[in-house]
Symmetry: C2
Subunit: 189 residues, 2 copies
């Protein structure tokens, strides 16, 4: 035997996970076994065939993209009082973090806070013009970040100041002050 069965199957799992686009034939040459062996392995491990894997990636990714880009809010908004306060929760996943130490990247926490601040404004258009943020504790993969946003002032000049505080449990991990420009309804008429 080149490599024990169990070992090969473990590697097979990893290999396919990180490159779902690989064919049985390529896997066979890679592990120096026959195609049939690869297929038996896939059956045992319940790994679907190439085309199904690709299809899965295509549909899955469609959801994923929206979590970080197309969605109005990054994270799940669980409470919203327009022009007053809002709360969202974001679970930190491996792709949100540095692979070396599993610490969430700063801009992920910023994105959660910023999108929450924007969603809070009850206007046709809201744009961030300024932000002052502090990352008070590093957040790790698996932790759930609860962001709480509240409007601290509605200025006369069409801007609002919003404070966002993010917590993991009792601990504050992020504080941000955002100034948001709003295309106030009165103005636009």
């Amino acid at each position: 035997m080149r490599v024990p069965k169990k070992e090969r199957q473990q590697e097979l799992l990893q290999t396919i996970e990180q490159n779902p686009f690989i064919t049985d034939e390529a896997l066979a040459t890679r592990f120096r076994v026959s195609i049939q062996t690869i297929r038996l392995d896939r059956m045992e491990l319940k790994i679907p065939e190439l085309r199904e894997r690709i299809k899965h990636v295509a549909t899955e990714r469609l959801d994923d993209v929206r979590t970080l880009t197309e969605n109005e809010v990054i994270g799940d908004m669980i409470d919203l009082k327009l022009d007053t306060s809002a709360i969202s929760i974001l679970e930190i996943l491996p792709e949100h973090a540095f692979s070396r130490n599993a610490i969430a990247r700063g801009h992920i926490l910023f994105a959660q806070a910023n999108s929450l601040a924007i969603a809070l404004i009850d206007d046709e258009l809201a744009l961030t013009t300024r932000a002052n943020v502090q990352f008070t504790r590093s957040v790790h993969v698996g932790e759930r970040v609860v962001a709480k946003a509240f409007v601290s002032s509605h200025r006369q000049d069409g801007r609002s100041d919003i404070t966002v505080e993010s917590y993991v449990g009792e601990e504050c991990v992020f504080i941000g002050e955002f100034t948001v420009y709003r295309s106030s309804k009165e103005e636009s008429k």
Copy 2:
């Protein structure tokens, strides 16, 4: 003729665009023509076959996710002098912007700047601890944002201050001051 050719091809384009997972057979019954006609249409319109379309969606989406998550740097880094300065370019795509007005979301520009600032630090670990940013002009879909980062000071306490200025053409669209904590090499030994 059920429906003129041109008309059918227009609908075909739309149909496939909003559901790339449809087979020629399904399209044939849908448009009440033969499979061959659908294939001629696809050839004329240069639409690839089902499997290629799915594959395309799968890899495209993969890239998108990485725009905000897995990549080390958001945007393309085109210049890097460690601990000194760095430049990256990011083209604003529809998914980076509000759909209503095609204006880039604030956290996208922040992410570009933040990741560039982190990449700039020549240390095992770098984490943003504070940021002060201004969005001086709104950026639209299709524009290319050039972010220029430079270290303004290496403090004794293991922190560095980095300034990032982002431009679209000659116009400054974003200014940010980041304070980054570095796990200095000397310290870790």
